[in-house]
Symmetry: C2
Subunit: 231 residues, 2 copies
DNA sequence: GCAATAGTGTCTATAAGACAGTATACC
DNA sequence: GGTATACTGTCTTATAGACACTATTGC
């Protein structure tokens, strides 16, 4: 007679999104107010469960990005997995976190699903008294840290910018994400020295007061050589 | 009357391990021969399903490391998630891959579970005609690439070495993992310049023919400043 | 002595940071 | 003119790579 055969456990899989953008020269993250328990009323990252057993994980991330934030065509990449038992009071939930980066957008996100979606300055979201649902504080920290290091070695910074941008706009991205201030003159030299990072596009852009600036767009290269070193 | 409420799908969670070591100055990865379908007889990474719903994912990785490779106390860190639908013919399986690095060990691993465990040169495992089970070829590629970049910025190289080692042994780690040859004189200078990377330990080690070398052990620092730049 | 490995020093090209100075806009 | 922003050039210092040289072993 056969004894009871061991069966592997089945668990719930979720996706969570750290969506970063720049507003008023400050780094912001998109948070939604939870409408259901657990953590009802608390702030949380956009995300949710896989829709069905056949949905691709990154596809689920893009679906949530669209449903909860009304965003499409943004830079998206895997961040990490969070699967500690007990991280979700509803049971064993393993979450795959993604990092998304979007250019500045018109005010309150036209979210269909989450009316309470709002851009929050990262400093506020991570303030000691701020309370985020689940382990989302840790996920935000990891996402921001990932963005900081990717800014050094890849062209991720252009994902924060509109299609065309000036060099000083690009500098603001670096300053906001790294939380430092940079010398514009040295920044010009470095950014132009990274081959294929940015290419000229169109003539000039007027500024409120001062000399017009040249416009650039993202170049073909994604790995920066030489890298943009963080101070 | 309530309509059928939507329920999120439940999936199977696995761990897979990319275990790297150095043998004969070449980078090797631990592979096991599969004893069951699917991919019966093919080579695969050590790994398996979560034992039960309450097992921590990293704990599961350490358990497989011990069961399938007889290894404990090795460097272990999360690598990535692989969850594409269809990657496992048995159904929807999402795998969390870990990178493990071990010092050189006595020949055939004293594996309890997997008798067929064997160290394979990474070049062979990734040769065009080599066939690995599932998407394990991709996972090995990602693991090796992770090791390469971590060698630049962290003290990971010491995890390939026994407790005490000479500088030229450490150089062999870099040469094997990066697949390049380095100038020993510049390597000495750089390795000593990374503060806290290695510290002197014990007097000398005899060599078959030549001047004895000083012994070092891993220092307290894990982030290398300045980094070891790859040629 | 010779061969082999360990370790030090020195030179040079490159890259990074500081910062002077010029150019072009609006007022 | 004054102010603000955009850009260019130069100087100094730190770092990386090439490589000459010395040191200590076994034979």
């Amino acid at each position: 007679m056969p004894d009871d055969p061991w069966q592997p456990p089945r668990i719930l899989l979720a996706v969570d999104l750290v969506i970063l953008t720049l507003r008023d020269a400050r780094l912001h993250v998109l948070l939604v107010e939870r409408g259901v328990d657990p953590f009802l009323g608390a702030l949380a990252l956009p995300g949710g469960f896989l829709r069905d057993e056949h949905e691709d994980i990154e596809a689920a991330a893009r679906r949530e990005l669209s449903e909860e934030a009304g965003l499409t065509d943004v830079h998206l990449e895997p961040l990490a997995v969070y699967g500690e038992p007990g991280r979700d009071p509803r049971g064993r939930v393993v979450s795959v976190a993604y990092l998304a980066v979007a250019p500045r957008l018109p005010e309150p996100v036209a979210g269909t699903d989450a009316a309470g979606a709002s851009w929050t300055p990262v400093d506020d979201a991570l303030a000691p008294d701020a309370k985020l649902a689940f382990d989302h504080r840790r996920i935000v920290i990891d996402g921001v840290e990932r963005a900081r290091t990717k800014l050094e070695h890849t062209a991720l910074a252009t994902a924060f910018c509109p299609e065309t941008f000036t060099i000083s706009e690009l500098q603001q991205v670096y300053e906001a994400v790294w939380g430092v201030s940079l010398d514009p003159r040295n920044f010009y030299r470095k950014v132009q020295g990274a081959r294929g990072f940015i290419v000229a596009d169109g003539p000039m852009r007027k500024t409120p007061n001062g000399r017009p600036a040249r416009l650039f767009k993202a170049g073909p290269v994604h790995v920066l050589i030489p890298p943009m070193t963080r101070p």
